[in-house]
């Protein structure tokens, strides 16, 4: 009998798969208590490293053309589709869900990448404006990414909730560090393998596994993070308070649905800044 080769589930930072700097892991078991994996338990230093990676990747990613970002998001959908069975299996292993339920979740995740991919070059057409000012000026408002986004993926969903947290942030050019569901971390790291093979530049998405509770205050109080999505946090009020220190943009839990095959333009816009440019008209 052949022994199968098991995967080591590590973090995803700056396009690489390091173990936690702290050397810590936590054990993941199935519903019957059987060992599944020792998952990396991220530390404060890992949070800092992820912020550095996200900040470093920002200028390249926000400077890429919208067409390019759209193609890369679509490529993620392609890669995910190709590994559909693996994701279904992993979700079932962690949750004990039925084949139909797990399949639906993976399909929604794939389709949501496609939905988001199509937005990259349409945001400004819909949400920007030419402003008819009362003077000799050309005046235009466009939307630009907010910068580095920290996010807590929903706890109850291993894959689609994570996708609907990452995609609205990166489609516009933000970079993101996301804390995966603590109970359901496997899909997050397998998703990282998908991202890594989709031409997504390293550092655009950084995935941390571990305790959202422990990591929360370090993300919320980090001064080089521009926005925070508190969807999967169990202490959103406390983290919103810490986020006020550098006036992070805050998405409170429950505002946007995260289970579907599509998202919300308003969610994308919440992680963007309106920039208005004035230029004189004359000879």
């Amino acid at each position: 009998v052949r022994l199968d080769v098991k995967k080591t589930y590590k973090l995803f930072i700056g396009g690489k798969f390091p173990r936690s700097e702290s050397g810590r892991t936590y054990e993941l078991t199935d519903s019957k208590g059987n060992h599944i994996a020792n998952v990396a338990k991220a530390s404060r230093k890992d949070v800092r490293d992820a912020v550095v990676a996200a900040r470093g990747a920002l200028s390249g990613w926000e400077g890429a053309t919208a067409y390019n970002r759209g193609q890369i998001l679509y490529r993620i959908a392609e890669m995910l589709e190709g590994r559909k069975d693996q994701f279904i299996q992993e979700l079932r292993l962690q949750t004990g869900k039925s084949l139909a339920t797990a399949t639906k979740e993976v399909e929604n995740a794939i389709d949501s990448w496609v939905w988001h991919a199509g937005w990259s070059d349409k945001i400004d057409s819909v949400a920007g404006s030419m402003n008819p000012v009362a003077g000799p000026f050309f005046n235009i408002s466009t939307n630009q990414p907010t910068g580095v986004v920290a996010a807590f993926a929903p706890q109850e969903s291993g894959l689609v909730g994570l996708v609907n947290t990452i995609a609205p942030a990166i489609v516009s050019g933000n970079t993101v560090l996301v804390v995966a569901s603590e109970k359901l971390p496997l899909s997050a790291i397998t998703l990282a393998e998908v991202l890594e093979t989709s031409d997504l530049p390293g550092g655009v998405v950084n995935i941390l596994t571990g305790s959202a509770k422990e990591l929360g205050s370090w993300l919320a109080s980090h001064l080089d993070v521009n926005a925070i999505d508190l969807e999967g946090s169990d202490s959103p009020a406390e983290l919103e308070l810490l986020s006020a220190e550098n006036l992070k943009r805050v998405i409170r839990p429950g505002v946007y649905p995260r289970q579907g095959a599509s998202g919300s333009l308003q969610h994308i816009l919440d992680l963007m800044e309106v920039k208005t440019v004035w230029h004189p008209k004359g000879h």
Binding site: V126, A127, S129, N131, P132, V133, A134, G135, F137, N139, S141, Q144, T146, G147, N226, P236, A237, E238, E240, L241, S243, A244, E245, N246, L247, R249, Q266, E273, V274, K275, T276, V277, W278, H279, P280
Partner: protein, 477 residues
């Protein structure tokens, strides 16, 4: 330099009451506590003003809630719009009176209140009046809804204009408001209450409470409000963000800035000089988006500074009521001390301060327009908002260095670019982390044009369709 004869505007068009209460539910309610509001150019008392406590705030919020539920939310958008059009027209009719009142209470030149502040106030109401019956086109899908009661706290630098930026979109979207003007400049807001009366606006739709920081804090903390809109310092913005953390209250914050005004060697120099002067000395530099950091391309530094100093020598500083005055009074003694302290710090850290010779009035609060050269990006005067007529000068060599220096600040409200090269403007405009970028211009404002900051300059936009969104939530979901 030419000598100018005095050309004072008359005060007689304005009659302040001796004492004002709070405007709540369509009536002026007496205040138990009072303070004096002054003319910062003369230090004379203009009127006694109420200092609202928790009790008055509660009355005002209840009045706004009542008006929202019983009256304002029952009107059609077209009806709300008509009230706003009426207000816009009354402001135009009473423009001269409002301009004089604003100058007396704020200290800014009559030239500015007459030609900029008050016309902009009227334009803001006129613009948002037209949105009231077109909310389906705001971008949130059909049938968007108002938040309910908006708490609005405004600063002293553009008192009535900030009121207009807050109240016009709030009412157009269907909210009712409780507005607190700044403690040092309450008078035009109280006159606005009379304008609401003349427009027959239903009682409680607009409530004006006056007071200090404790008044604002009580308003933000009141459980009956749905939305906070604040313009002021980043320090207070932070406090407000903390106060509403974990609640359902929405916020828009328009906070401080430390804008870079970037001048390239190919810029139209004379225009750039005018733009730099306007950028920092307009309204005594009491402007959150003021171009307070001048970034000069190294090769033109000497020529530019020589011309800038010559231009500054022609600025007329003094009586704000004089129609020729360019730079008026500093709004308060507190602010004057803060400016003075920061400039001294700048010199201590190695900068060289220069100001033109100026004869200043004996009473009142004054600060002569000042530039500080030899500033390095780590210096206090390159980092902290001075909020006065003080320009910190730095240099750069390449466009990339200009962008790095411009973005090297926790603020992100505005920026200026001076160059004849269109492609350079567009590239820099993309790279600058600022909510408003002025190319070959500065300090332009319009009700159709969104205004607001990146990073610690706050969140949300005021003006245009985007400004309307801050007062709406999605309808059908």
């Amino acid at each position: 330099m030419f000598e100018y004869s005095p050309a004072p505007e008359s005060k007689s068009i304005v009659k302040f009451q001796d004492s004002y209460g709070h405007y709540i539910a369509g009536k002026f309610v007496k205040s138990s506590k009072k303070y004096e509001t002054i003319n910062p150019a003369t230090e004379e008392t203009l009127a006694l003003i109420g200092h609202a406590g928790a009790k008055e705030i509660d009355l005002a919020v209840r009045a706004a809630r009542n008006a929202y539920e019983k009256t304002w939310s029952k009107l059609t958008g077209a009806q709300r719009g008509k009230y706003l059009y009426r207000i816009a027209r009354i402001i135009q009719e009473r423009a001269r009176e409002l301009a004089v009142a604003e100058t007396l209470n704020n200290g800014k030149p009559i030239k500015e209140t007459r030609d900029f502040d008050i016309p902009t106030v009227a334009a803001w109401f006129f613009y948002y009046a037209g949105w009231a019956d077109k909310l389906d086109y705001a971008g949130l899908g059909p049938n968007p809804k108002a938040h309910g009661v908006a708490a609005q706290i405004i600063p002293w630098n553009f008192p009535l204009m900030m009121l207009a930026w807050k109240i016009a979109p709030a009412l157009a979207a269907g909210n009712t408001v409780v507005l607190k003007p700044a403690e040092s400049t309450p008078l035009t807001a109280l006159m606005f209450a009379e304008i609401c009366e003349q427009a027959e606006l239903p009682a409680g739709v607009v409530n004006i409470v006056t007071g200090f920081g404790d008044t604002g804090s009580a308003l933000v903390n009141h459980s009956g409000i749905d939305k906070v809109a604040f313009t002021g310092s980043t320090e207070v913005g932070r406090i407000i963000a903390k106060q509403i953390a974990g609640s359902k209250k929405k916020a828009t914050l328009e906070l401080g800035g430390k804008a870079a005004n970037i001048v390239f060697d190919d810029a139209p120099i004379d225009q750039a000089i005018e733009g730099v002067v306007n950028g920092i000395f307009f309204n005594q530099g009491h402007v959150c988006c003021a171009g307070s950091r001048l970034l000069l391309q190294e090769s033109i530094q000497d020529e530019f500074l020589k011309k800038l100093k010559r231009r500054m020598e022609t600025l007329r500083v003094g009586d704000p009521m004089d129609k020729n005055t360019d730079v008026g009074a500093i709004n308060s003694e507190t602010q004057l001390r803060k400016i003075d302290k920061l400039v001294k710090q700048g010199v201590k850290e190695g900068g060289t301060a220069w100001s033109p010779q100026c004869k200043l009035p004996r009473n009142g609060f004054w600060y002569v327009p000042t530039i500080i050269t030899g500033v390095s990006p780590a210096n206090t005067v390159a980092r902290e908002e001075i909020f006065g007529p003080v320009l910190s000068v730095m240099t750069f060599r390449t466009p990339a260095e200009a962008v790095t220096k411009a973005n090297n600040t926790p603020y992100g409200l505005s920026a200026g670019i001076w160059t004849e090269k269109g492609s350079r403007i567009l590239k820099l405009a993309d790279q600058l982390n600022a909510g408003v970028v002025w190319a070959n211009s500065f300090n332009q404002f319009d009700p159709t044009s969104p205004f607001g900051g990146f990073k610690e300059s706050g969140y949300g936009r005021e003006g245009g369709r985007h400004g309307l969104l801050a007062y709406l939530k999605g309808g059908a979901k």
